[in-house]
Symmetry: C5
Subunit: 374 residues, 5 copies
């Protein structure tokens, strides 16, 4: 949500030919880390040498599922090289690099346009999914966004992530290492599901955190401890909600497209898992929507409290004025310097005036009590 990354840097790419690879994210110094994981139900091999040459398009007869886990997308030439080895469409690679790209799914039928020599190579259909990982950054008290891309071929999966302190797919690698469970026994499509599941699970975490903040704010407002500050926080929260919603919403469409596209690439067995994932995404969206509603409800309560306070201030003012104005007038009358003012000379005049004033005051108080102002 940093202000300087909000959209793909329009000026930078203006006028260049479509499909030109430019990285528009933050500058990063590290080299790209590449892990190659090969596995099947009985065996697995992990090569984390980061050598591009090890990452070849596997033949269809290979008994392994190939997973290329690319950590870092700030080196266009690395992504371009991988793209060439896997015959990926230049527009696909452009989207991998463009950290401003919104989540989406594209299905390429596998005929790459060739990159200059014009010879198209058919490599079977390729599913391209790009989405956002959301972390809560405790230091900056902000949500950290990471641009993730997944490329699914018949027996391989390539995952791209931005260079951060941690490989977010570590738990899946651990599961592959640990046992020959579901991940090992299924194909590359199940692996893609597993990676997406990791991402959606983090959406729950983020949602939970926002829910906690919300509870706090609700308590503050309902107990009338809210200040002008509270509203600013509500506003910030609303913006955050709206941002997360825009990030999570397309994931639903992505999964629905996958469900419809049951094909060579997505196997029948994986469908229940994808449906489950769609369901989870829906739950996140629904929760976000209910929060949104809650916020506007809270705002209503807040405004009503503010206007009630105003009312109470006005009443106080009116009561003071209505009591003291007549009294001040009365004492003003007997402060006049007329030669001929009979009351001034009476012995008890002073006390009569005091009595009158007490009566006026009591009358006023009774009047305001009756109107419910005191």
């Amino acid at each position: 949500m940093s202000k300087h990354r909000r959209y793909r840097s329009a000026e930078k790419t203006l006028g260049t030919s479509p499909g030109t690879l430019t990285y528009v994210g933050e500058e990063i110094e590290h080299a790209t880390k590449i892990k190659r994981i090969e596995f099947n139900a009985t065996d697995y091999r992990i090569d984390d040498s980061s050598k591009l040459s090890a990452c070849r398009l596997p033949g269809l007869e290979t008994p392994y599922i190939n997973w290329i886990d690319v950590d870092g997308i700030h080196e266009p030439q690395v992504v371009a090289a991988l793209g060439q080895q896997y015959h990926l469409h230049p527009l696909l690679l452009e989207d991998v690099l463009n950290t401003e790209q919104k989540p989406k799914i594209d299905i390429y039928d596998g005929t790459s346009p060739g990159n200059g020599n014009g010879v198209a190579k058919s490599t079977g259909p390729v599913v391209f999914v790009t989405l956002k990982m959301l972390h809560h950054n405790r230091q900056r008290q902000e949500i950290d966004i990471e641009h993730i891309s997944l490329v699914l071929g018949r027996n391989y999966l390539i995952s791209f992530q931005e260079e951060r302190t941690k490989d977010i797919f570590e738990p899946v690698i651990e599961r592959i290492k640990a046992s020959s469970g579901k991940t090992r026994r299924n194909g590359a499509d199940y692996l893609m599901y597993a990676l997406m599941d990791v991402i959606v699970d983090h959406y729950f975490l983020i949602t939970e955190r926002i829910g906690d903040k919300m509870d706090e704010l609700e308590e503050q407002i309902v107990e009338e401890r809210a200040t002008q500050q509270t509203l600013a926080v509500l506003y910030k929260l609303k913006r955050e909600l709206s941002f997360i919603r825009r990030t999570v919403y397309p994931v639903r469409d992505i999964i629905n497209t996958l469900l419809r596209e049951e094909s060579d690439v997505i196997q029948h067995n994986t469908l229940p898992y994808l449906r489950d994932l769609a369901d989870h995404t829906n739950q996140v969206i629904e929760t976000l929507d209910s929060y949104r509603e809650l916020i506007s409800g809270l705002m209503d309560v807040y405004y009503s409290i503010v206007s009630n306070r105003m009312n109470s201030v006005m009443k106080t003012l009116t009561i003071f004025s209505a009591i003291f104005m007549p009294l001040t007038f009365i004492v003003g009358v007997y402060g006049m310097n007329f030669k001929h003012m009979p009351e001034l000379d009476t012995t008890y005049g002073y006390y009569v005036v005091w009595g009158t004033m007490v009566l006026v005051t009591v009358g006023m108080i009774v009047y305001f009590r009756r109107r419910g102002w005191m």
Copy 2:
């Protein structure tokens, strides 16, 4: 609507493999109660020994409809065992246990993925429905939610409910015992309808209760007896409405899916009943929507009353100020100590001043009456 159960406990399940069975609801001490009810038009048997071994997948040739009524979902191992006996998909069992699961329907085509040995068993299509029972908790003045799951096979039905003081399906069991009426003469699909009908009937009860509260609030507001407290109650009601709506709304989709899915499992005879149920659900939703509208209408009236009160306070203040300020000024004039002030020495000066002041006051009153302020 307890704050600590709002979403599936994200942190607890983060990183675990999908399909892992974890119960995320409140801790409960009792053992799970299991009733096995077998019935047809002429006969019925009820076994409430809670023995898992009695609950086997019935053969297709059995002349009875089998109903397994599971009361308590806090023991994952019990649910897992049942799941194995009925060849249920692990994701289905996960949803049975996940009390945070939103209402939904899933139709499994009956090929379970096997739980480790990889041998899939075909058991015919299985309809899985999960929804929420809503009770009004009189003590806590809150709505109590109970997570209900129904699993419908060709000639059996398994119902799961959370452990509460009462089996909510008791009336249906009574009807089965009492006579050989519609429930006994029809299949497992009609039984599922009957159980869902019990749940939807409770939605009517909840709606009725909210309607009563609404009438109360409306009276308070329209008769201008509303306080800041009233708004807080309206806000709470609105939240409650929104929550119930989110609970009831998906039930409509569930029934519509069932209607479309007329198949081996749902018989043609049951369709009119399901349509009737859909109709009832629609009525609940419509009533909820009309309440929602009413609440925002009431809020408008409330705000207008508040702003009218403010207006009335302001008018009072203005009238007092406008009357007493000139008077105080006049008496102030004759309180000045100038040596040379001819009026002070006249005999009737004092009375003339009083006359002037009466005139000013009357003039002001006439003026304010004309403007409609008094």
Copy 3:
């Protein structure tokens, strides 16, 4: 719109088997009146003996259209007996009796489930329509609702209405008696159209009446004669509008379903009439929607007038304060009792002070005129 009839009495019917016939409306003492009207292009017979035995399912070869006009639905046993003679589905009869039922259409394919003996009888498709008659009750200044049900078979029509002072279908009976016009020359489906037309025509009446009230309120508000009371009336009107809309809206769907369901029961000739009816219903809905919009527009104007009044009150207060506070201060200065105050001893001091005060007042007035406050 009475508060005690708003939803089907949930508690009363909770736990009973679906299809149980219970009347949930107001208690009524009269016996049910039943008219049997037989007619064709050349002839007609009317039997108003209220004898149930006269009401048999007519054979398909009968040369007459049969119309059973049932006036009163408070005797479940009468409706049940009719239902048996015409082989109607128990759920249909439940909806006839349930005065809280929302308008809807159901098409039964004519196989009744049998009522105990299990032998289903095929009687051809049956169209069931239920809607609401709206009268303006002049005494209670409320809208009176009447629950109407129409059952259309191949050559018969049964109409059910609540017992009121008047049979609302009287004009249609008169038309049948009067001439051998369109109603006599067409089938039972045209008759159903004619009855629905009577009901929709009454919607126009109700809408017209609301339009008149609206004109009144608009005049009041725009001419700034509105009071707090006006807003309460607007709120009531809005509620009424919302209620009527919910009553009329489903009628559109009902007619559209009829149009789509052109079949043995609905003849091709009747379609233009049904389309015309759909069109009328749309016109009512559109008018209601435009009223709704108008109301919220009027509210905006009202609020703006209120806030403008407040503004004017505040300005008056401010002008008074700003003029008299300086004056009171000035006279206060010369009311001080200092021994040494040179001005007090001058001959024209008093007049100079008056001059100053006139200047201050004029200055203030000029200032406020410039700011547009006076």
Copy 4:
């Protein structure tokens, strides 16, 4: 938008048989004017004798396109006679006369139900379109509505308009007379398009006029010259917009239906013109929508200006009070008549008090400047 024509006079037509011809518009004295225009690419004849006998259903072999231009719909018998000669459906004629009818399209398949003798005559499909002509009435500063109906047969077109000072289709007649251009060379369907184009062009005029009013209001509001009056005008404009929108919106659907219904009646050549018309209608609707949005934006600005003024009034009041209240208090102190008040006897006491008061005033001014109130 006159209040007395808002809906078809419900009470007048209540209880009459559907299809009864009643004129519900304003009373008009003139006789109906009927023009018969026959034309083809080479020739044209115009007969404006207003004789009904001249208006016969042309045979299919006639080499001319027939256009009957009926000016005046206040004589039901004339319309009925025409209807009989062209075998039009009674419901169609009812809609021609009903000036309250909303714009719509109906396609009759050409089998008229016969008007008493029961012999249906097939005359080929008939397209019936009814819409509204909108004029800006300069005298009453209102929008004048004219009910237009078009009946399109295979080689004829009948146009009905209300009796006004001018035949709105005059320009099209002129074009037919002037040259053998597109109108002459094409069929009756192109003629219908041409007439509808005249009507839609007038919508642009109306929209333009509203746009001008809007610009004026915007200027008034943004330059803070708006008064309570401005809001009333905005409200009236909003109502007008909403009315026009409801009039124009269905025209889009009418044209889309025509586009879908390419048939014997609508020729392939006419489609691009109809599409162009649809496009124009969309542009009108879009402009109206953008005005609507603008109005609500302007209202926001207006309210904010009002509340800012209030703020400014309050600040003025507060500043005056805060400055003069302390001063008045100070002078009050030295107006006390205590025997023993040492300050009163000092030589410079009076000047010290003045000094103090100047300090207090300056302090207050500084304080309010710092808070940004001055």
Copy 5:
């Protein structure tokens, strides 16, 4: 967004026959510039002589792609001549000239109606796209709109643009000159994509600029530096956003129509590029929508700050009044001139009064602190 160009000048074109070519934009003096660019993968020729005679409909056997780049649409006769040479439909040409035309796509099947001689010529399908180029005009601080039309035939493309200082398609011409890259190797459809891409890229630029303004405003408002002016800017921004949205939104539909219309004209290879363009358009729309939301959020914050300020003003007033009114009353009491006022004669009376006043003041301050007003 100039007020005088908002809609096609309705009065000017009223009554003319449809398809009449009239230019409705600003008056321009320059002659129309026409470039003819012929290219294929191996070769290219550019003829910028602006001679119409050079622009003929190319034969299907020509080995070149023909691009006619027309700069200036203010000379209807030039456009008409081009239209005749390429057999374009008169309605298409009308849309090219009508600078008020909203973005749209039309697909003509290639049979032109002939322009007087009635002989239709089939020239293959023609895709017509019209959209708007948006520039930020730095001098006028406004958005400059340019009406662009693209006509795509089997092997030619005609682009029309308004006469401005610069040919906006210059970069594409440069790319054609520079290398035999993607543009040169693909067909006329890819060329159209490339031109549309230039336009959509400019939308990003405009969006970015608005985003910057937004950040500024947000800072101003959240840091409470906003003035009445800020709101006017927000209003203007909202209007601008709404305008851009209406300009960009139809582009999405245009591209989707192109995607669906894969045909002789649009080749399979171009589809991924069009999909990418659709994606970019979506991103622009989404960003605009999020800005819209943000604006309304900012307005809420602004209003709340205004009402908080009001509150604070009122509190200040009330505190001053509540403190000084009692004090002024007290000193008023001892300013009375009664003969018999025992306190006046006591030695310490004056000091006791001061003490009392200090106590009252302290009491008030404590009271207001407790209520949280100070």
